[in-house]
């Protein structure tokens, strides 16, 4: 993006502007301090902390069952996957043998959560570039998933379905039927998404070549998830460190090489198809068995350090526990995908216009509680 040369008699002056904490494009309480020259962005400084709830500190006080509930409130759009991270970490530390049924159900619900998160992202992406109608289309399909979740575990967003040792309850008898219905429904809707937004000339003009992130930068900034895969960096945790039932299914890692906003968009749209295919492979043969193994009422992890990572809808969520053998961790650190992805923003948005910044931010898919914790 070239900056137009200004005649020396018309020296332009840079000024700063506060984008947020109350701004429609930041989707939450993120504050960006922008330094702008006219419309051209010179510097972006994210200012965090508006929704900091000291979740990591609270974890040091809580039991492991309670920690699961806190993780819902981090990246609320992939709440179930966050739960899974803690549960898997604790189970691996305890070396519990988890029934196959639990693994399969966790994977199915995890992928449905990913679809639901991407649906919301797609709607918001359209809204950020000015096509408000997409928002409602995204929500229409997400609503079906929320209904399924509600029937299964009573909650629509913050599900708390996983507990260390399995699932809180068994799935609802309608679950399989409704998920199949959703898969059939959604297969007809993704092409609709493409017709409405992906193929639109204005949309492509707005996103192609905007916010370009090279593969090297993606690696050095610690990007993960669709943001990194849009730059051609193969980093899917589901492929490299499969957890739950992900080693039993076949799916492709979606990679694009351009690294621009449109590439990140395409990665997410393709991930919708992949997630659907994973759900389809598993939904017909959920093994019979227990939905939970017995654990002690007070879980005490052995002394040591444990790390578990999962792929949320936004990227790699890491959970690092240092245990001293008591009922709560000595220290628990979350490596959230949003935080690393946000650190890219200054790098890729400088030189663009305000509209470019908004489009770029939309494809970073930031969830602010995930960044602040």
């Amino acid at each position: 993006m070239e900056t137009p040369t200004v005649h020396s008699n018309f020296k332009s002056e840079e000024y700063f502007i506060n984008m947020g904490p109350q701004h429609p494009a930041t989707h939450g309480v993120l504050r960006l301090v922008l330094t702008i020259d006219g419309e051209i962005i010179k510097k972006v400084e994210p200012d965090l902390g508006y929704i900091h709830r000291s979740i990591e500190k609270m974890c040091e006080r809580d039991s492991y069952q309670q920690i699961v509930h806190l993780t819902d409130r981090m990246d609320y759009l992939s709440a179930n996957i966050n739960n899974e991270a803690v549960c898997l970490g604790v189970e691996n530390a305890l070396q519990l043998e988890i029934p196959e049924r639990v693994k399969v159900i966790r994977t199915i619900i995890g992928e449905l959560t990913r679809i639901s998160s991407h649906c919301l992202w797609w709607g918001v992406m359209g809204m950020d570039v000015g096509a408000i109608t997409t928002y409602f289309y995204g929500f229409r399909d997400r609503e079906m998933l929320n209904d399924i979740f509600e029937e299964t575990c009573g909650a629509r967003l913050t599900m708390n379905y996983n507990v260390p040792g399995g699932l809180m309850f068994d799935i609802h008898p309608n679950f399989v039927k409704r998920v199949k219905k959703f898969v059939a429904h959604f297969k007809t809707k993704i092409p609709e998404y493409d017709r409405l937004l992906t193929g639109n000339v204005i949309f492509q003009k707005r996103t192609k070549g905007v916010g370009v992130l090279s593969k090297e930068d993606a690696i050095s900034f610690g990007a993960s998830g669709p943001v990194a895969r849009g730059s051609g960096y193969s980093c899917d945790v589901r492929k490299y460190h499969p957890y739950s039932a992900l080693d039993k299914v076949t799916f492709n890692e979606c990679l694009e090489t351009e690294g621009d906003t449109f590439a990140r968009y395409c990665v997410r749209i393709r991930e919708l198809w992949e997630s659907l295919s994973i759900v389809e492979q598993l939904i017909d043969n959920i093994p019979q068995g227990e939905h939970r193994v017995k654990t002690n009422a007070v879980i005490k992890l052995p002394k040591g350090e444990f790390y578990q990572k999962v792929e949320t809808a936004r990227g790699e969520l890491g959970m690092y526990i240092i245990s001293t053998g008591t009922k709560s961790p000595y220290r628990l650190k979350f490596r959230s995908p949003g935080f690393s992805n946000l650190s890219l923003l200054n790098h890729i948005a400088v030189g663009g216009k305000i509209g470019d910044l908004v489009a770029t931010m939309a494809t970073l898919d930031l969830v602010i509680p995930d960044i602040d914790r």
């Binding site: 429609p24 809204m127 000015g130 204005i202 305000i354």
Partner: protein
């Protein structure tokens, strides 16, 4: 000036006691008040229409509770806006800040004066009708610029500057695309332009260049009213609310109403110039002149619907893409189109029934 509502029949007695000058002033004031009344309500109806259309596009139902099918919803909203406190920023330029909404609403209403609804429902039939419309509708941008400038808000300022750039650029396309059609009619007077169309609507008469001109006009007209996909001025995901960020209550309502009246005007001009104004298709209701209002409004509302369709389908352009579209594509195309139209008029290639 046409006498709209037959003042001489309604109020016969002032004729005898008042001088002619006084009478014509009274007449103008009454006509102005009637127009003001009609079009404030029409503006509210357009807001409702937009909300219902948007809901239809977005898998929703839209307002349907207040009154029959939500007909009174926008009335209720307007009442709410009237009763709201007028807030403002501390260091704003108070005079300009208060002036800006009036610039926008007054110019929007002024343009209505020359719109020919039918032969008789036409307040002000001047011989430079189109010229007047273009001139008046470009004053509105001053209100937007003033509003953004005086608000003491950087988002509003960016919005206002975008508005200036955008409106001034697209004014050219509007003017030139209308000029293309003037080559056929040979007059700027709106009533005469419609008379010419008794031999076929201009979009049929001028066929290829007329269709190109119509498309350019609709694109530029959408940009002129600052609506999506050219809503750079408001761009709620970028600038919050753009130039009217700091306005509340009735002042905000003026901006809002002006947007819808402007949209109506753009559609009404297109109806007049391209689609035969009040003329019925194939002259089917020519014997009933007052049905002209019906045909005029029908055509206009179809075009308004088209603009709403744009708004709820397309993403927004970026500000530099917006200018590229105008200066690199629409303007050269427009100039070539004028030459083409001139050649067609000269060569007698028009389709006339």
């Amino acid at each position: 000036m046409n006498i709209v509502f037959g003042m001489t029949y309604i109020l016969p007695w002032p004729l005898s006691i008042a001088s002619e000058g006084t009478l014509s002033i009274v007449e103008m004031v009454v006509i102005a008040l009637v127009y003001l009344g009609i079009f404030s309500v029409a503006g509210l109806f357009l807001v409702l229409m937009e909300r219902r259309v948007a809901a239809w596009f977005q898998l929703r139902i839209g307002p349907n509770r207040v009154g029959f099918q939500g007909l009174l919803q926008t009335m209720a909203d307007a009442l709410k806006l009237v009763s709201k406190e007028l807030t403002g920023t501390v260091k704003s330029d108070k005079f300009l800040y208060n002036l800006a909404p009036y610039f926008v609403i007054v110019t929007a209403l002024m343009a209505l004066a020359v719109i020919p609804f039918t032969k008789d429902f036409h307040a002000f039939d001047i011989n430079i009708g189109i010229f007047f419309l273009i001139a008046v509708s470009s004053i509105g941008v001053i209100g937007v610029l003033l509003g953004g400038w005086s608000s003491n808000n950087k988002f509003a300022l960016i919005g206002a500057m975008r508005s200036g750039v955008q409106t001034i650029s697209y004014e050219l396309s509007i003017g030139l695309s209308l000029l293309t059609m003037i080559l056929i009619t040979g007059t700027l007077q709106l009533s005469e332009i419609i008379e010419v169309q008794k031999n076929g609507w201009l979009i049929v008469q001028g066929h290829i260049p007329a269709i190109i001109a119509f498309m350019i006009y609709m694109i530029a007209g959408t940009a002129e009213t600052n609506r999506a996909p050219f809503d750079m001025v408001e761009a709620e995901s970028e600038l919050g609310a753009g130039f009217h960020t700091e306005y509340s209550g009735m002042k905000f309502a003026y901006f809002f109403l002006a947007e819808f009246i402007n949209m109506f005007i753009i559609a009404a001009i297109a109806t007049t110039i391209f689609f035969g104004g009040w003329l019925s298709p194939f002259g089917i209701t020519e014997s009933i002149p007052w049905l002209g209002v019906f045909w005029f409004l029908l055509k206009t509302l179809v075009l308004v619907f088209l603009m709403m369709w744009f708004r709820w389908t397309f993403p927004r352009l970026r500000v530099d893409q917006l200018l590229t579209l105008e200066w690199k594509y629409l303007l050269p195309l427009n100039l070539m189109n004028i030459v083409l139209m001139a050649l067609m008029v000269w060569g007698g290639l028009l389709i006339r029934f």
